[in-house]
Amino acid sequence: MAKPNEIESAAALTKKRRLGESFIQSFLFVCGLLSIFTTIGIVFILFNESFAFFSRTQWETTNKPITADIDAAATVIPVGTRGATLSPGQVIRLRQEAMLIEAVDNDALTLTVVRGYRDTEPMAHAANIVFERANDIDVIDTIRSTKWIPQLGEFGIWPLLLATLMTAVIAMIVAIPLGLAAAIYLSEYASERVRSILKPILEVLAGIPTVVFGYFALTFVTPILRSIFGMDTVEIFNTASAGIVVGILIIPLVSSMSEDALHAVPNSLREAAYAMGATKLETSLKVVVPAALSGIAAAFVIAMSRAIGETMVVAIAAGAGPKNFDLATDSLFGYVLNPFVAAETMTGHIVRISGGDLSYDSIDYNSLFAIGLALFLMTLALNMIARYFVTRYREVYE
C-alpha cells in the first residue's frame, strides 16, 4: 500500500521504474527474437553444409600405379601404363599425400608433380601403390549433370529437381481447378447452411497427416492408375499417383485462400454487376474472380510451394531412387517426363537417405543439405511472390 505523501508527488509516479515489468518485456522480446534465430539457423546451416558439400573432394581410384619407390622429395614419378589417363592440372593422391600434376610424359611414363599439395605432408611411397584422382564437386557440374549417383561422385540435381517439379505440376493440375471451383462455390453460391457443412469437410481433409495421404497414394491411387493404364505402363512407384494425391492434399489450401480473396471483394462490385443484368455466373467469373485475382494467384503460388516441399506422399509413393537419365539415349516423353515412371524427388531423397544409417561428414550427409538449400530457396522465392500478390489485393480493398 502506497503512503499518501507518495501519491501526492506526480514526479514519483512517472519516474518509477518497474524492474519486473521491464524484465517481462525483455523476456517476451527474446521469445519473439527466437524466430529470427530459427531463420538464421536454417540459412546458416543450409549454406554452411552446402559449402562443405561443394568444397568437398571425392577421391576415386585411377587404377594407375607408381612403378618404383619414391622418397618424399622426388617430383618426377614413374607410373605404369594401365589405369585411367591423367592430365596436367589434376590433383592426385598417393595414400594421404595429395599432389598436383604439372606435366605428363607419356613416352617416359613419368609425371611431374608438386608434392605435398593441399596442406598434406610429403612422404615416401613404395612401388605399386595406386593413384587416386580428386573429383571436385562444383555448382556447374551439379547443374549440368543429369545423374545423381553419389557412389560415383555424380551429383546432378536434375533427376531430383525434375521429379519434384513433375509431382508439383501434376498436383497443381489437380488442385487449381478443384480448389478454385470449390472456393467460388463456397464464396458465391453456397448458402450459410451449406457452407457450415462443407467447410468442415475441407478442414478435416487439411488436418489429415501427410503420411496418411502417402498411404492413400500407394494403396489406393496407384492400383487405380495401374488398372486404368495397365500394369506395364504404370510402375508401382510413380510420380503421377504421388502428384494427384499431393493435389488432393492442397485442395483445402487453395480453396480456403482463394475463398478469402473472393470474400474480400466488396459487395458493391457484385451489386453493380447484378444491376447491369449479369447473372450470378457472369458476376462470379467476370467480376469477382478478376477482382480477386491477385489473392487467387497468391493461393496458387503458396500451393505450389507447399507441393514442392511436400515430403511424405512422395517419399512413399513416388519412388525410392533418383531417375537418372541421359538426354542422348532416353526418350523425353517415354521416360524423362513420363509420370508413370518411378522418380525420387528432392524431399523424398532427403527422407530416404537420412532415414538410413547416415554418418556425419559423409558426402551423403552434406549433399542432403545442398538439396535442402535448393528446396529452401525455391519455396522462399515462391512465398515471397505470394506475399507480393497478397499485399497487392490488400491494398486495393482494405
Binding site: T38, P209, Y215, F216, F220, T279, L380
Partner: protein, 749 residues
C-alpha cells in the same frame, strides 16, 4: 470479347447511333441460355467440392478396407489337434482305464466288469447288447429314431462325383439302389437313418448327376439292378464299412451280376483314393475338408456329398449297473476323468470306475473328446494351457519365458528350484523380471501358446470389401492355394495392437512404443513452443512499436510458416542432434542410458524440432486471438492504473485464452502428424522398449506408419492402416477437445 459485350454489339446497330436490346422471343432465348449456363457451372463448382468429399471418403474407405478383412492363416500346429490330444491323453491316462483299438476287447471288458464303463460305435453295441446297458445323455439315446439331438452323433457320407457316376453305370445304379433302400437296412448294422433333409439332398444330388432321366427335384426313380454287370470300387472309413458292405450284399441279392471291391482304410485315405481316381466312391465318417475338395478338383473330380446315415457313439455300462441311467454332459466329462462313481454323483456307490475306451489311433476317441469336452483353446483353463506349452516347447525357451514372467506364484514349470533361487538371489535390477512381478494369467499363457506353439502365419490377406462380397471366391481360392490354411476374418486393430510393443512379425506388432513416443515428443513440443509462442505473440501485439525490427520479426514469422517441414528436420539434425548433442543426449546431466546408442537422436531433439516447426503457427494463431480482444478492455484496465503487464495478464490473456488454446491445439495436432522432420532428426525404425524420458530413443506413430507402409509384405499395410486409425483417433480427440475448450470458455465470457 466478353459475353456481355457480344450481346450488346450483336444486338446493336453498329453503324447507327441507336442501340437496341433483344426483345420478345430472342430475349427469352438469351435469358434461358444464360440461365442454363449458370446452372451447369454451378454444378461444376459444386462438383469440385464433391470430388474433395469423395477423396476424403475414399481415403477413409481405403483405410477401413485394410484394417479388417479375411486372412488365410497357416498354423504350424493345429490348435484343435493339440486340445484333442490333450483330452485323449487325459482320458487314456486316467486310473483304471483300458485303451484298445479292438472294439471286441472293449465290449468284453465292460460286460465282464460290474463297474465297467466305455464307449464305441453304436454298431458294436447293437451287435453285442448282452451284458451291456446303454446310458442316455440328457434323455437322448443313441438308439432312438432320430439321433439328431444326441450329442455323440456323426454323419456317414459317401463321396463321388458326377463324372465318376457318368463313367461307371454300375456305380451310378448302385448309388440309386443304396439311396432307395438304405433306410430299410441301416438299423441292421446299428446305425440310424440320415435326417430327412440330408436324404432329400442326397436324392437331389443323384438326380442332378443323371440329367438324362428328366426327373424334377422331389421325384425319384427306382432302377432295377437285375442283370447289371460292371465293377464298383468303394474305399474309405471303417465306420461306414459295415453299412456299405451290407448295401452291396443287398445290391447283389437284387440281381447285380458284376464285381465289387469295398476297402476299409479310413476316411482320409478313402477320399485320397477317390480323388486320385482309384475308386468310384469314398466313404467318410466326417465331412470332406476344403483342402481335399481342392485336391480332387485338380484331378478333375468334383466331389458330391451323399449322406447315407448317422452313426452314434454308445455310452455303455455293465448290464448289472443299476444306478447310471441318464447323465448330462458335465457328468459325462466327469465319468471319464474321475476315480469313483460317487465323485460324479454322490448318490452313486463309492467304487472305482473301470473304463474301456478306444485307443488314440482311432478317430472315435477324438470324436468323443470333440463332442464332450471343451475344444476351443482359448477356453481351456490356465493349467491345461501351461501343460500344452510344456509339452510343445523346448526347456530352454520355457526357462526364458519363465524368467520373463512366472507361470505360478508358488511352483515352477520349466526352471529347477535351485537355479531359480540362485538367479533370483541377485540384486534388484540384475535379476530377471520373473522373480518378482505379476504371474502370467490365462490370457497371457494362451498368447504364449499361440506364438510359441501354434505359430499362425498369415499367408494372404484380403480387403474388407472383397471379404464381404466375394466370400465364396475367396474360400475357393484359399482352398486352391493353401489347402491346410484356415480362412478367418481378422481385425488388425485390436486391444493387443495398442498394448503391444513393436515386433518384426506383423501379426504381433503393436503401437505402444509409438504411442508413448508420440506423447513424449508432443509433451516436449508443447512445453517448449506454447510459452515461447504465446510470449512472442504478446510481444508483437501488445509491446512492439512499429519499427523496422518488429516488422522484420513479423515478416520473418510469416515466412517461417511457409518453410517446408523437412527443412526444420535438417535444422534439428544439425543443431539439436549434432551441435547440442551433449545436452540432447543427456550426457551433460549424466543421464545417458547405458544400453541406448541414441546420441543426440532423442525425444528431446525431436520435441524441440517440432517445437520450432509449430512455433510460427502458435504465434500467428495467438496473435489473432489477442488482436480480437477489444481495445476498450485494455484502455479500461490502463485507466484504472494497471501496468501494461497487469493489463495483459489479468485482462487480455484471459479473454484471448480460448482462441490461443484452440490455435495451439491445432498446431499441436499438426505436430503429432508430422513425419518427415522426425525421420531426418533420426527416429528409430525399430525399438521395442518404452521410452523412459526425454533422453530416450524414440519412434512415433507417423514414423511407424511410414515404416510399415514402405514394407513390401501385404500384412504390414494392414497394420499401417490400423496405426492410421489410432493416429486419426488421437487427432480427432485432440480437435474435439479444442472445440469443447473453446465453447466452454466462450460461454464463460
Amino acid at each position: 470479347m466478353s459475353e456481355l459485350d457480344k450481346q450488346t454489339t450483336n444486338g446493336g446497330d453498329l453503324n447507327g447511333d441507336r442501340f437496341f436490346y433483344p426483345e420478345g422471343e430472342a430475349l427469352r432465348l438469351q435469358i434461358d441460355r444464360r440461365r442454363r449456363r449458370g446452372l451447369i457451372w454451378r454444378l461444376v463448382f459444386m462438383g469440385a467440392l464433391i470430388v474433395a468429399m469423395l477423396s476424403l471418403t475414399a481415403l477413409l474407405y481405403n483405410i477401413m478396407n485394410d484394417v479388417f478383412g479375411l486372412t488365410i492363416v497357416i498354423n504350424k500346429n493345429d490348435p484343435q489337434r493339440l486340445v484333442l490330444d490333450l483330452w485323449g491323453e487325459r482320458m487314456l491316462t486316467a486310473v483304471n482305464t483300458v485303451g484298445s483299438e479292438d472294439d471286441n476287447e472293449l465290449v468284453a471288458g465292460i460286460a465282464n466288469d460290474m463297474d465297467g464303463l466305455g464307449f464305441f460305435g453304436h454298431a458294436y453295441y447293437a451287435a453285442n447288447r448282452d451284458g451291456l446297458r446303454l446310458v442316455t445323455i440328457n434323455g437322448r439315446s443313441a438308439d432312438v429314431e432320430s439321433a439328431e439331438d444326441y450329442p455323440l452323433a456323426r454323419p456317414l457320407f459317401l463321396y463321388t462325383s458326377d463324372s465318376a457316376l457318368a463313367a461307371n453305370q454300375a456305380a451310378n445304379i448302385f448309388l440309386n439302389h443304396l439311396l432307395t433302400n438304405v433306410n430299410d437296412e441301416i438299423r441292421a448294422v446299428g446305425y440310424l437313418p440320415a435326417p430327412e433333409t440330408a436324404q432329400a439332398r442326397a436324392r437331389r444330388n443323384w438326380i442332378t448327376a443323371n440329367p438324362n432321366l428328366g426327373l424334377a427335384a422331389g421325384q425319384w426313380a427306382i432302377i432295377n439292378p437285375d442283370g447289371l454287370d460292371g465293377r464298383i470300387a468303394l474305399v474309405g472309413s471303417s465306420t461306414v464299412h459295415p453299412l456299405t458292405e451290407r448295401m452291396l450284399a443287398v445290391f447283389v441279392a437284387d440281381g447285380y451280376a458284376g464285381t465289387f471291391e469295398n476297402a476299409s482304410v479310413g476316411s482320409s485315405a478313402g477320399i485320397a483314393a477317390f480323388c486320385a481316381g482309384r475308386a468310384d466312391f469314398a466313404a467318410a465318417s466326417r465331412p470332406i475338408k476344403s483342402g481335399e475338395i481342392e485336391a480332387c478338383r485338380r484331378n478333375n473330380r468334383f466331389p458330391v456329398e451323399f449322406q447315407i446315415g448317422v452313426d452314434t457313439l454308445a455310452i455303455v455300462v455293465n448290464g448289472n449297473n443299476d444306478f447310471v441311467g441318464d447323465v448330462d454332459e458335465a457328468q459325462l466329462q466327469a465319468l471319464f476323468t474321475a476315480v469313483s462313481w460317487s465323485e460324479v454323483n454322490p448318490a452313486w456307490p463309492n467304487r472305482p470306475i473301470k473304463r474301456f475306451v478306444p485307443g488314440a489311433a482311432s478317430g472315435t476317441l477324438d470324436f468323443f473328446a470333440e463332442a464332450i469336452f471343451e475344444t476351443r483353446l482359448d477356453q481351456l483353463p490356465k493349467d491345461d494351457l501351461v501343460r500344452l506349452l510344456r509339452e510343445n516347447i523346448s526347456l530352454g525357451r520355457g526357462r526364458t519365458l519363465e524368467r520373463d514372467q512366472r507361470f505360478y506364484e508358488t511352483s515352477l514349470v520349466f526352471e529347477s528350484p535351485e537355479l531359480w533361487n540362485e538367479v533370483c538371489a541377485q540384486p534388484a535390477g540384475e535379476r530377471p523380471s520373473g522373480c518378482t512381478g505379476r504371474v502370467r494369467d490365462q490370457d497371457n499363457v494362451y498368447d504364449l501358446l499361440i506364438r510359441e506353439v501354434i505359430e499362425p502365419d498369415v499367408v494372404k490377406v484380403y480387403k474388407l470389401v472383397e471379404s464381404i462380397f466375394k466370400r465364396r471366391e475367396i474360400a475357393d481360392e484359399a482352398a486352391l492355394l493353401y489347402p491346410n490354411g484356415v480362412l478367418e476374418f481378422r481385425s488388425w486393430l485390436t486391444a493387443d495392437f495398442i498394448r503391444d510393443p513393436q515386433s518384426s512379425t506383423p501379426e504381433y506388432a503393436g503401437v505402444r512404443t509409438a504411442i508413448l513416443g508420440s506423447l513424449w515428443v508432443i509433451l516436449v513440443t508443447i512445453l517448449f513452443s506454447f510459452p515461447v509462442g504465446v510470449s512472442a505473440a504478446i510481444y508483437l501485439e501488445e509491446y512492439a512499436s512499429d519499427n523496422w525490427l518488429n516488422r522484420v520479426l513479423q515478416t520473418n514469422i510469416n515466412n517461417l510458416a511457409g518453410v517446408p517441414s523437412i527443412i526444420y528436420g535438417m535444422l534439428g539434425l544439425a543443431v539439436f542432434v549434432r551441435a547440442l548433442e551433449m545436452i540432447t543426449s543427456g550426457a551433460i546431466f549424466g543421464l545417458v542410458e547405458a544400453d541406448t546408442t541414441a546420441n543426440g537422436r532423442t525425444i528431446l531433439s525431436a520435441g524441440l524440432t517440432l517445437g520450432l516447426l509449430i512455433l510460427p503457427l502458435i504465434i500467428i494463431n495467438s496473435q489473432e486471438a489477442i488482436r480480437a480482444v477489444p481495445g476498450s478492455m485494455r484502455q479500461a484496465s490502463l485507466a484504472l492504473g494497471a501496468t501494461r503487464w497487469q493489463t495483459v495478464w489479468y485482462h487480455v490473456l484471459p479473454s484471448a485464452l480460448p482462441g490461443i488454446l484452440t490455435g495451439t491445439i491445432l498446431a499441436v495436432s499438426r505436430a503429432i502428424g508430422e513425419t518427415a522432420p522426425l525421420v531426418v532428426v533420426g527416429a528409430s525404425t525399430f525399438i521395442t522398449f518404452d521410452p523412459s524420458g526425454p533422453f530416450s530413443k524414440f519412434t512415433t506413430l507417423p514414423i511407424q506408419i511410414y515404416q510399415w507402409t514402405s514394407r513390401p509384405q501385404a500384412e504390414f499395410r494392414n497394420i499401417a492402416a490400423a496405426a492410421i486409425v489410432v493416429l486419426l483417433t488421437m487427432l480427432l480427440t485432440l480437435n474435439a477437445t479444442a472445440i469443447i475448450l473453446r465453447n466452454k470458455y466462450t460461454m464463460k465470457m
